[in-house]
């Protein structure tokens, strides 16, 4: 684990009864799991739940004390299958992932788990990556909960409420023999807040107990006829048990007056923004004292019919606030009221947006429209709503629209993937454009300028698989890109094994940067750092050859752009049959810098000889055409305006954030761009030999320079 240490956060996990936890909600969740007495935790990293995995990775001591088995799962399906430990034994377990992508991968295991049911509490922490800042397709996890019949918790964004629902969620799972999901949105995961902690709980029944006295029950295995019985159990026993538990424990909440002409039903996660919207409308104060009755669904599946009916009773209309689409809850509420023949009108997506974030602005407008139609007097003297439209219409702001440049995310300074894509771009200039299947990971930034490489992305580890249809003989070959993270997640079998078996002639490029980098630098099988808790250092090439690949090339320094070009060209042109596999390896620079920077600083301080490298541009040699930037896009490679009336265009310049990776020089050399780039080596604590050599050399050079300077006419102005 190289990216950063979570030692400070780990200390939070030790807080005892009555102490106050302050920090991110995702860490509060982690603490909540330990308070609930889990026996095992698994999952796959990804925003917004990476920190849960990272902290537990660094918390081995605490986990050992509590007897908790923590695993970084190979993928989400592995994590979901891990929950099978709770099927036969009274063991509490939790797994976590980014959703819906992770839930997609896990859904086979989840469906089997939900069919047979559980004995111990089983919980999936769902990082709902939806709305602004999301990096994936816009879908809801809600559908998965409904189709497999798993209970879905959607707590109010409040640390206390979330942690409480973890404890209650396990109880609910056990009371109804059903796995549950706890959904937290991106902003909530990264929300700073506080709650009063309790002591961690060591499980009474342990994994060791289960292993020593194994039990089995054929009725819990998904195979006919038990599978038919499971469906009946879900309907007749588990659902009613869950409804009873939710009602009796008041997991859903009522706020504001009981009676009213109108009321709002909302997902727990929407609560904070709804309160703010009501405040703008003059219907609540900042502390949540609302004049409109609210029914907050901290459990969004199952919907509790009797609670909905009771809330609607006596009201002319209710508004369903449900983020995302389709509008499952609105449909459910309508069905419930229709069956009960209740006269209450149900509004929802007719006044609120069908898709996208339910920001305060969107909610304010929707609730306002709802009130206008159903209870216009409620808004009283109608205080003015915040409105930025007049400001946005100012001519000065209008003009700004065409000025402010977009800032697409890109590869970091010194990223080892940059030279790979620069080489690909150059090879395509020679051999023509090729079809490129991209994958999920940092390398997906290749689809953006300046590289503009990549046509599709089909899911994590599926870059290689998504070029499967293009296994055509002769002519141009397809190229598939995949990261080391995706490779171990499933790409080895779904992509490489598949290509070998089906004799695919295409090129398969595996980008190996020693970590699962895009998710925060977690270790994976092929990571090269020693890890005392895991077995690392398992080279990708052995796996690839193990599944039968024969044409395999390793480039163990991606910054060698010339070599990268050579290998790519060979792969695209060799007559050899079968997949052409390239493994391009160099350490993720973000992680490398975090690792080596302190080491270098220490070495210099300790008087050791250290050579520090960085790159530069000769400003009088550079002509300002910026071709180098169009082939690289390094954040440290920028432009600057010279104080020279003869020059129109800014010249390239490299700032102090340069880490000396050499990409710009290599690219400029390989693409025959220009001779402006130089690498500057600064020797710290030089040896006697360094000093003598430099003194002699510079004396000779100084003489030559002085000779020429004397003969040169100075054009300096006085």
């Amino acid at each position: 684990m190289a990216e950063r240490s979570f030692a400070k956060e780990v200390e939070h996990l030790r807080l005892g009864d009555g102490e106050t936890f302050k920090g991110e909600a995702i860490l509060a969740i982690t603490k909540g799991l330990l308070q609930a007495g889990v026996s095992y935790v698994g999952g796959y990293q990804g925003s917004p739940i990476s920190h849960l995995m990272d902290v537990l990775s660094d918390a081995k001591d605490i986990l050992d004390e509590l007897g908790v088995n923590f695993q970084s799962s190979a993928n989400e399906a592995t994590a979901a299958a891990m929950l099978s430990a709770s099927v036969m034994y009274p063991l509490r377990g939790a797994v976590a992932w980014k959703s819906t992508v992770g839930t997609n991968v896990a859904s086979d295991a989840l469906a089997n788990l939900a069919s047979g049911g559980v004995t111990g509490g089983a919980m999936v922490i769902i990082g709902e990556d939806y709305g602004e800042g999301s990096s994936i397709m816009q879908e809801r996890t809600h559908a998965f909960a409904m189709k497999s019949q798993m209970w879905l918790l959607d707590p109010r964004p409040d640390h206390g409420c979330i942690v409480d629902l973890i404890e209650k969620g396990f109880q609910l799972s056990e009371a109804s023999n059903t796995p549950v999901m706890l959904e937290v949105r991106v902003r909530t995961c990264h929300m700073h807040g506080s709650f009063v902690a309790k002591d961690n709980v060591r499980p009474e029944f342990t994994l060791r107990d289960a292993l020593e006295t194994p039990t089995r029950d054929l009725d819990r295995i998904v195979l006919p006829p038990a599978a038919y019985q499971h469906e009946q159990e879900k309907i007749l026993r588990r659902l009613p048990a869950a409804i009873d538990f939710v009602r009796e424990n008041r997991l859903n909440e009522w706020f504001g007056p009981r009676e009213g002409k109108v009321g709002i039903v909302l997902q727990g996660g929407m609560y904070n923004n709804v309160i703010r919207a009501l405040q703008h409308l003059g219907l609540s104060d900042a502390y949540g004292r609302t004049q409109v009755p609210l029914y907050v669904m901290n459990v969004t599946y199952p919907v509790i019919d009797s609670e909905i009916a009771a809330f609607a009773a006596g009201k002319d209309a209710i508004l369903m606030v449900e983020e995302g689409q389709p509008e499952y809850l609105e449909q459910a509420v309508n069905t419930i009221l229709k069956r009960k023949d209740a006269p209450t009108r149900v509004h929802g997506k007719d006044v609120l947006p069908m898709g996208g974030d339910y920001s305060v602005q969107a909610l304010m407008e929707g609730i306002n429209a709802f009130l206008d139609q159903n209870h216009p007097h409620l808004r009283g003297n109608r205080p003015p709503l915040p409105d930025a439209r007049p400001v946005l219409a100012l001519p000065e702001v209008e003009r700004l629209k065409s000025v402010v440049p977009s800032r697409p995310p890109g590869l970091c300074t010194g990223c080892p993937e940059r030279p790979i894509f620069a080489a690909m771009k150059m090879v395509q200039q020679d051999l023509g454009e090729h079809h490129v299947s991209a994958d999920i990971g940092c390398h997906l930034f290749s689809i953006l300028p300046p590289f503009n490489i990549g046509t599709t992305t089909m899911g994590f580890g599926l870059g290689a698989a998504s070029s499967a249809a293009f296994s055509q003989k002769g002519g141009k070959r397809s190229i598939a890109v995949m990261g080391d993270g995706g490779f171990w997640h499933n790409g080895l079998t779904s992509g490489i094994g598949n290509a070998v078996f089906n004799k695919h002639d295409g090129v398969f490029l595996i980008v190996d940067n020693y970590y699962s980098s895009a998710t925060g630098g977690q270790d994976i099988l092929s990571s090269r750092a020693p890890n005392r808790n895991r077995k690392t250092n398992n080279p990708i090439i052995k796996a690839v050859e193990g599944v039968g690949a024969t044409w395999v090339r390793e480039v163990d320094r991606t910054y060698d752009v010339g070599r990268m070009k050579e290998v790519l060209t060979e792969a695209l042109t060799t007559p050899e049959e079968g997949p052409k596999i390239i493994i391009a390896s160099s350490e993720c620079m973000l992680n490398k810098q975090r690792r080596v920077k302190p080491q270098i600083a220490k070495a210099i301080k300790g008087g050791q000889r250290v050579v520090k490298e960085r790159f530069g541009v000769d400003e009088d040699v550079c002509t300002g055409d910026h071709a180098c930037i169009r082939l690289s896009g390094c954040p440290s490679l920028s432009v600057k305006q010279l104080d020279d009336p003869l020059r129109d265009d800014p010249v390239a310049a490299i700032d102090n954030s340069c880490v000396g990776c050499g990409n710009c020089g290599e690219v400029s050399e390989a693409a025959v761009l220009c001779p402006s780039f130089y690498r500057a080596d600064v020797i710290h604590n030089p040896t006697w030999w360094d000093r003598t050599k430099s003194r002699v050399t510079m004396a000779v050079i100084g003489l030559l320079q002085a000779y020429r300077a004397r003969r040169r006419i100075s054009v300096e102005f006085a």
Binding site: E132, H192, G193, I275, R276, G282, A286, G288, L378, G380, N381, L385, P386, A388, V391, L392, E396, R399, L400, V403, V404, P405, S406, P409, G410, L411, C412, G616, D618, V621, T623, D625, I629, R630, L637, K640, Q641, P645, L646, D648, D649, P650, G665, E669, A670, V672, L673, F677, R679, V682, I683, P686, D690, S694, T697, M698, R708, A709, V715, F717
Partner: protein, 526 residues
């Protein structure tokens, strides 16, 4: 001290409960310490016994993209915690802190800077976006547009270069922004409370405090935005009032010839700069050649009554003729790389200390074409005619070379090449360039006779030629296509506008596709 403009509730409000929390949006780019600053602001409020909540969406934005951190804070009331929103609402943000000037502009476009409410605290330094950097010419966004917009949208402004201030004080921009926030007085906490937050950090405290204090004073002292100092295009040669003088007496003769032309000061100054560049490239005789050509253009200018246009033609000619005559050959590159000033400049930029040793490695990739260019014209042509031999030789030469500049062996090689000025005038490259310049000047004259301004436009097209090897060839081809198309604009009244559009498109366009489109458009009506 909360806001006084409260929302009037329909019911009788219970004192402070009608207030909304103080809301702060921090707009930053990944790696600018936005997260650190957010943590400090939260801690500041919590230390004062308030409830504070922050949210953010790091995700992919962390990797160099733009991102936004949002903080709300408010005291609890009778044991009740305030319910705090998770994202900023347009028109309802009290403080916006922008870590970069275009990000300040973006926050205005998001509608979170409004005149009734918002204190905008922004650093006016620029971190260029990829689209600004990759444009083949000048693509830097116009900071004055942000200046104009901040002027009409913010209730209060605290704008200065926080990045420079932080660097000068040995810290990072988050400390400067924290200081500016404190100095703005937008939050009801004393300066000591901020100090306490920084001190609790335990790392780099002294430098952070120094930066904080400097930014605090700056924020209190002045509020009007400064003119951004970096990356702005220098104004077109403002007359300095005093004619520049050369230090070297050998330049006197040439300088007097420039003065004798009797031009307005801005033209004379440009000509002196051009002269300096040309002489530095070759020798005094070459400078004289420059002046002779310039004289020819001045006569053209006068014959077209250019005095009434402030001698714009001669002014542009002085600039672009010098650039054309100073072409980039291997002699020039080697010469520049071996100068003493060059090493001094690098050492200064990187900050090489007394007890450290600097070495540089050049990334060069010469092709036979460049080497042949410096050979005497006849020899070079003979070489080019022997295709097989030329190819064989090229394969031996055409590869990347790492040149250790300050090793005696490599330095001597560069030094000798840099000293080949004597060969230059006889070289193939010189012949090619001279013919190219002559052709260009004929076109200038033709165009100017049709329309004075069109002549000026043709002069300015010289800007299209830059770079080395392939890039240079592409530039030259763009130049030729643009000039050919301008030639076809015969007699049109709007020829000047079209010429300008052609040139600007060609400069902006890296791959040349937009230019092709424009040329087709012009072809359709001419």
């Amino acid at each position: 001290m909360l806001r006084d403009e409260t929302v009037r509730l329909a019911i009788a409000p219970a004192g402070e409960a009608t207030e909304r929390p103080i809301s702060i949006a921090i707009v930053a780019m990944g790696g600018q310490g936005g997260g650190v600053l957010t943590g400090w602001v939260v801690r500041l409020a919590e230390d004062a016994g308030w409830v504070a909540q922050s949210t953010s969406v790091p995700g992919v934005a962390q990797r160099t993209g733009a991102t936004i951190y949002y903080v709300e804070m408010m005291p609890a009331q009778d044991g009740l915690k305030p319910i705090l929103a998770q994202m900023p609402t347009p028109g309802d943000v009290d403080i916006v802190i922008a870590s970069e000037f275009m990000e300040a502009g973006r926050s205005i476009l998001r509608g979170i800077v409004t005149p009734e409410r918002t204190t905008l605290i922004a650093s006016d330094h620029r971190a260029l976006a990829i689209s600004e950097k990759s444009a083949p010419g000048l693509g830097i966004a116009d900071s004055s547009a942000v200046n104009d917009a901040t002027g009409v949208t913010a209730r209060r402004l605290v704008v200065f270069d926080m990045d420079a201030l932080a660097t000068a004080n040995g810290s990072v921009i988050s400390a400067a922004m924290f200081g500016a926030l404190a100095g703005s007085g937008a939050l009801p906490f004393p300066r000591e409370a901020y100090h306490a937050v920084i001190s609790a950090e335990g790392k780099g405290v002294a430098a952070s405090l120094r930066t904080f204090d400097a930014a605090f004073d700056r924020a209190q002292g002045r509020e009007e935005p400064q003119v951004p100092a970096v990356a702005e295009k220098p104004a077109e040669m403002a007359p300095t009032g005093r004619m520049p003088r050369f230090a070297d007496a050998r330049m006197e003769g040439l300088a007097r010839r420039v003065e004798a032309m009797g031009l307005p000061q801005r033209v004379t100054e440009m000509a002196l700069h051009g002269l300096a560049k040309v002489v530095d490239f070759q020798d005094v005789a070459y400078g004289a050649e420059y002046l002779a050509r310039l004289q020819g253009l001045l006569e053209l200018d006068r014959s077209l009554k250019g005095a009434g246009r402030d001698h714009e033609l001669t002014f542009q000619a002085a600039k672009y003729l010098a650039n054309a005559m100073v072409y980039d050959d291997i002699v020039r590159v080697a010469d520049l790389k071996t100068r003493a000033q060059r090493r001094k400049r690098i050492a200064g930029e990187i900050g090489v200390g007394e007890d450290q040793i600097l070495q540089t490695t050049e990334y060069m990739h010469p092709r036979l074409e460049e080497l042949a260019g410096i050979l005497p014209a006849r020899l070079a042509r003979w070489l080019q005619s022997k295709a097989g031999f030329y190819g064989w030789l090229d394969r031996r030469i055409d590869k990347g070379r790492r040149v250790r500049t300050y090793s005696i062996g490599w330095f001597v090689v560069l030094y000798v090449v840099g000293g080949l000025r004597g060969w230059r005038r006889a070289s193939l490259r010189h012949q090619t360039e001279t013919a190219h310049i002559a052709d260009w000047l004929v076109r200038v004259s033709e165009a100017a006779h049709k329309d004075y301004e069109l002549g000026v436009e043709v002069l300015k097209c010289r800007r299209l030629i830059k770079g080395y090897s392939d890039t240079h060839d592409r530039g030259k081809s763009k130049f030729t296509r643009v000039l050919d198309t301008i030639g076809k604009l015969n007699g049109r009244e709007d020829a000047v506008q079209w010429a300008r559009r052609l040139r600007e498109t060609a400069i902006r366009d890296g791959e040349g596709r937009d230019l092709d489109g424009l040329i087709r458009t012009i072809g359709s009506f001419s």
